[in-house]
């Protein structure tokens, strides 16, 4: 199972046999891992950018990039990346230079650091921390720091407003986000990403895969909504709403620094999708694991990797789909939604999950009924009276 871990151990052992101090292989492994992660982030982010452009184009009855690279403009992102690299790097006169330069690094660094605990496949995880999920959530919250630094240091009012909105949004949505993640953690009884995936190996009622999305559907939807807000995706892209704030916090950034924000945005989308996949969609679980006839390690490594990616990219696709369909919310609506709708729902979900876990499966029926009633009540209470005038109605 631990094919990659075995490889690393053999590497250590071989070097130790030659009398080389342990720090050398450690550093070598570190460098290799970091390079692989960075390379994956860059390639995946570029793919996502191209993919988003194609998806948006097809939703909007057009083609999207078609020229660069031949087949459906696959090299468009690469060309854009080169263009951004070659662009002049501007720092506004009134900017706080140190903070201005530091901000994209903080954003990018925080995003990259979150990749440490993504369980790609059985045994393929950079470091399976026992507080894995908590680590991911806490490190992702650093992104907001970078956004605020960028917004403030630009000495631009639009950027400052974007940063203010971003701070408000992040603080509000982090609460229901963490609360909704607690459901799966309570069921699995662990915060380690690897163990969370393994806890979903069974089957519900012998039919459905043992993913936590089925008992925790409410938590999943809450999490996904909050994740959209965390990534500043529509309908929650208030910090960078280009029709109001031009580009929000990164309005003054150009060239490579802007590219770092851009890459980090897409890398962050992958991170939140990976969290959702790990906690709710069974991580790398899927058919043909293990596949008879193939060595266990190969089947795990290969198919695990594929299933995990498929699930992640499906969630990313949904995010893009939403972006090109919905309109943007307003700041007060955004905050109201977090505090008045998402927070009560995630609390209710937490209480129900706890009750079911304590009372056992016999109480499922009772608790389930109460939970549904509770949810309906909350939803009705949180929803203001709709004043919808249908087309054709005359006044």
């Amino acid at each position: 199972m631990m094919i990659f871990a075995t490889l690393v151990e053999r590497f250590y052992a071989a070097l130790a046999a030659w009398g080389i101090p342990w720090i050398v292989p450690t550093l070598v492994v570190m460098v290799i891992v970091v390079s692989v992660v960075l390379a994956y982030i860059s390639v995946a982010a570029m793919f996502m950018i191209w993919w988003e452009r194609k998806i948006s184009a097809h939703i909007q009855v057009r083609y999207g990039p078609m020229r660069v690279g031949g087949w459906h403009g696959w090299a468009q992102s690469i060309a854009d990346g080169i263009k951004l690299l070659l662009k002049e790097d501007l720092i506004p006169t009134g900017a706080d230079k140190v903070v201005f330069v530091l901000a994209p690094m903080v954003v990018f660094g925080a995003t990259v650091a979150a990749y440490v605990t993504i369980p790609w496949a059985p045994g393929l995880i950079v470091r399976d921390l026992n507080i894995g999920i908590l680590y991911m959530v806490s490190i992702s919250s650093l992104v907001v720091v970078g956004i605020i630094m960028a917004g403030w240091s630009s000495n631009n009012k639009y950027a400052t407003l974007g940063a203010l909105r971003s701070a408000a949004q992040a603080v509000s949505y982090e609460v229901p986000l963490v609360l909704s993640l607690l459901g799966p953690v309570m069921i699995a009884g662990t915060m380690s990403m690897g163990k969370l995936v393994e806890a979903q190996s069974g089957r519900w009622f012998g039919v459905l895969p043992g993913w936590f999305v089925f008992p925790q559907i409410v938590a999943f939807l809450t999490y996904f909504t909050c994740a959209l807000a965390e990534c500043n995706r529509l309908p929650f892209d208030i910090p960078e709403a280009e029709s109001e704030l031009v580009a929000g916090f990164h309005v003054e950034y150009s060239g490579m620094r802007f590219a770092m924000f851009f890459l980090a945005e897409y890398a962050n989308m992958f991170v939140v999708s990976a969290i959702a996949t790990t906690l709710f969609l069974g991580g790398w679980h899927g058919p043909w694991i293990p596949l008879p006839g193939l060595p266990r390690e190969v089947a795990h490594g290969l198919f695990g990797l594929v299933w995990f990616q498929v699930k992640c990219y499906f969630l990313i696709f949904v995010m893009m789909w939403l972006r090109w369909t919905l309109a943007r919310l307003r700041v007060d609506q955004l905050m109201g939604f977090a505090w008045k709708v998402l927070l009560p729902i995630s609390f209710a979900n937490l209480i129900v999950t706890g009750l079911v876990l304590i009372l056992g499966k016999h109480a499922l029926l009772y608790v389930g009924g109460i939970a549904i009633l509770l949810l309906v009540a909350i939803l009705l209470a949180a929803r203001p009276a709709a004043r919808t005038v249908r087309v054709g109605e005359r006044t």
């Binding site: 909105r165 029709s243 943007r328 307003r330 700041v331 919808t388 087309v391 005359r394 006044t395």
Partner: protein, 381 residues
């Protein structure tokens, strides 16, 4: 180099002597949502707008001064550039004014052509408005859909006039040439395609709860305020006032058609959206009826070579997609107008913007400005 003013510093404005304790945000003239070169100074308290000062004139082209130096026919191409998204309506308003001044009657067929083209133009103009309004609210997709349909209207116009944006197609005394042979079938095909598209827009905009939340109860202008400011067109009809020059002061042959005047009384951005959305349907109705009734015959009346209206003056108005387009013309009997003035609807509608914006959020500013539907070419003249 001048040191930039840090954010939030107390600034005393040189001209007005005002002290700014609140945050001022300068929106425009280069801003994606000001629909051209409009500049708004927003006085903010956090995200709330306390006051708004519009600065216009960036696109001023001395329209009226030029008008005094051209003869009556030569002015027609300049009127195209007023509201460049509804050139037909601008042409219509202008030739109507001159014909009223001269007391000129025009052939029946030309009247029908004028109405058909003006109503198609209304559809095209409202489509652009809908698309860019969606863009303002963060919905990119509706923009593409609307432009797809607008392209078809432009194709129709191209087949008639040879132009896609500035048509200069109306003449004093009629129309310069007849429709091409393919126009009737093409136009009917377009209407057949267009009518089922409107429910699609509803699906992505009107019925979307996020969209409704963004536009309802925002940018309110009560009927009282609307009349005091002289708002016109959809802006006025969104205040529950059933006022449309095509119906209340029928010009051309608008009294021959069956159509509704959509009116909503919520006075907000939502009402303006709904009025324009419904108006597209009504325009389709008018075009259909006009196509069915289109009589044969001449399209140009017998006109003198040089147009010299009798000395006198007239204020003539017509209903453009944005509201009441008025032309005030003073003639001294010479081939050039002595005084030529345009009362543009967007100019007047925009003047009520500060009133509508007070107390809104910055994000609403974009929605409200979008709902006014300004075309800077017409505002600045």
């Amino acid at each position: 180099m001048e040191k930039p003013i840090p954010i939030g510093t107390t600034v005393v404005m040189e001209r007005t002597g005002e002290t700014m304790e609140e945050m001022y945000v300068n929106m425009g003239p280069q801003h994606p949502s000001t629909h051209g070169v409009l500049r708004l100074m927003l006085k903010l308290d956090g995200e709330y707008i306390i006051d708004c000062i519009p600065y216009i004139g960036y696109l001023h082209r001395c329209h009226e001064k030029i008008g005094e130096n051209r003869n009556y026919t030569q002015i027609i191409p300049y009127t195209d550039r007023l509201d460049y998204l509804a050139s037909m309506s601008m042409n219509f308003g202008y030739v109507l004014a001159v014909e009223r001044l001269m007391g000129q009657k025009i052939p029946e067929r030309a009247e029908y052509m004028r109405v058909i083209l003006a109503e198609l133009q209304r559809i095209a103009s409202h489509l652009i408005w809908l698309g860019t309004f969606g863009l303002d609210l963060g919905n990119f997709t509706i923009f593409m859909y609307c432009f797809r349909e607008r392209e078809m209207v432009l194709d129709l116009f191209e087949s008639v006039t040879g132009q896609r944006l500035n048509y200069s197609f109306y003449r004093i005394g009629g129309m310069p040439m007849d429709f091409p042979d393919t126009f009737l079938t093409d136009c009917q095909a377009f209407l057949a395609w267009f009518k089922p598209r409107l429910p699609e827009y509803d699906a992505i905009m009107t019925d979307n709860i996020l969209f409704q939340k963004r536009v309802q109860g925002v940018g309110i202008s009560p009927p009282q305020v609307a009349v005091e400011y002289g708002l016109s067109g959809p802006m006025l009809r969104a205040c529950g006032i059933k006022w449309d020059l095509r119906r209340n002061e029928p010009y051309s042959i608008y009294d021959r058609f069956e159509f509704d005047i959509p009116v909503f009384d919520t006075c907000d951005v939502w009402a303006r959206y709904m009025v324009r959305r419904r108006e597209m349907e009504e325009s389709v109705k008018i075009v259909e009826q006009a196509l069915a009734q289109l009589p044969p015959g001449e399209v140009m009346a017998k006109m003198p070579k040089t147009i010299k209206p009798p000395a006198g003056q007239i204020y003539s108005r017509a209903e453009s997609p944005r509201g009441e387009i008025g032309f005030y013309i003073v003639s001294d009997g010479s081939p050039k107008p002595y005084r030529y003035k345009v009362r543009s609807p967007a100019y007047v509608n925009l003047s009520a913007l500060p009133e509508m914006l007070k107390g809104c959020l910055v994000a609403d500013c974009v929605a409200v400005l979008g709902s006014v539907d300004i075309v800077l070419g017409e505002v600045d003249r």
